[in-house]
């Protein structure tokens, strides 16, 4: 299958089937976490098959919940729909930037959804010449702008009425946790 890696986080790995079109098919896999087992725990586990089964069941449960989340109508409407134009771009570079931008949006969405937080669709601008996609969110006095390029993702946070001082910028990576940006945007 021709897939593109979306993200790996909280023990879950997400990949998208590139041949699926819209709505996309997302392949979800549970990544086993390395477990350090002491000799005492090992002995205990071997003596109890029931415990072992329970661990597997936990994994399955996570997987099923996550699959349901991705089939959710809201996620299609709020996260995937705004990025529907992906297939209209011919260059692979711009497509990959689109995937990166959508993954970022998806990560924010999942964070907001899992913690029952406020969510808003981003305003999206595509700059084909520069090879960047700009995502913008507003929440009262706060604004978050994210520039997604092929190799970098930069953000600008703006708040308050003092436009000269109430601004901060920086860079993030999709491989790292980016929840702090959404948390900043929504907190009063």
């Amino acid at each position: 299958m021709n897939t593109v890696f979306l993200f790996k986080e909280r023990g879950i790995k997400c990949e998208e089937d590139l041949t699926s079109g819209f709505p996309p098919i997302i392949k979800v896999a549970v990544v086993p976490r390395p477990v350090v087992v002491t000799p005492r725990q090992r002995k205990k586990t071997l003596n109890s098959k029931k415990n072992s089964y329970s661990n597997n069941e936990d994994n399955v449960k996570v997987n099923v919940n996550f699959q349901n989340l991705l089939k959710d109508v809201n996620i299609l409407k709020d996260v995937f729909q705004p990025f529907k134009k992906i297939n209209s771009y011919n260059t692979e570079r711009l497509k990959m930037i689109f995937f990166r931008a959508r993954t970022l949006s998806l990560k924010f969405y999942l964070f907001a959804r899992n913690d029952n937080l406020w969510w808003q669709k981003p305003l999206i601008n595509v700059n084909e010449e520069e090879g960047e996609i700009v995502l913008e969110w507003w929440n009262k006095q706060k604004k978050l702008t994210i520039y997604v390029c092929s190799d970098t993702i930069d953000f600008i946070k703006v708040w308050g009425s003092d436009i000269d001082n109430e601004m901060e910028d920086g860079s993030i990576s999709l491989n790292n946790n980016i929840d702090f940006l959404w948390r900043w945007l929504i907190c009063a």
Binding site: I124, N125, K143, T145, Y147, I163
Partner: protein, 159 residues
């Protein structure tokens, strides 16, 4: 005598006064503005001011008879009003690789008439932006300058 008066007038027109009003076209569509329904306001995207050469264009209101429709490219477009002084007072700093401020760019509005647009001017920096980050911060600040009452013409569908 007449030549001297004309020369003086030309020099006067070259200088953009601090209290001059400027117009900027905000293109109609889904991307350059957003309606915040809960707060009943229209916010402008920073991308409404972007420019490939990092020189956003504006029109001098007094050179187009204070007619914002002059700045519209299409009938559906919106037009916002900006004050020259507020743009000149914007602080845009240049940061080094360690995120420390090295110097501040001087932001100015410079008259750059075009053959087909006598009112055309540009928002320029001195020195020229040395990285994208500074220009992006300028865009944020420009979009932040636009208040609700600064919409001379609202985009189609919001009038």
């Amino acid at each position: 005598m007449n030549e001297e008066i004309e020369k003086n007038n030309d020099e006067k027109i070259e200088v953009i006064e601090d209290d001059e009003i400027l117009y900027r076209c905000v293109f109609y569509g889904e991307s350059y503005y957003k309606i915040i329904e809960k707060e009943n306001r229209i916010v402008v995207s920073s991308q409404a001011f972007t420019d490939r050469m990092m020189l956003p264009s504006v029109d001098r209101a007094k050179l187009c008879d204070f007619n914002p429709y002059y700045t519209q490219k299409n009938q559906e477009d919106g037009v916002v009003r900006l004050l020259t002084k507020e743009i000149r007072l914007l602080q845009v700093d240049h940061k080094n690789s360690k995120d420390k401020t090295e110097f501040c760019y001087a932001i100015d509005v410079v008259y750059r008439p075009l053959p087909d647009n006598f009112a055309h001017s540009q928002i320029e920096s001195s020195p020229a932006y040395q990285n994208k980050g500074a220009f992006r911060r300028l865009l944020e600040r420009l979009s932040r300058l636009v208040k609700q009452e600064d919409w001379e013409i609202k985009p189609h569908g919001l009038r």
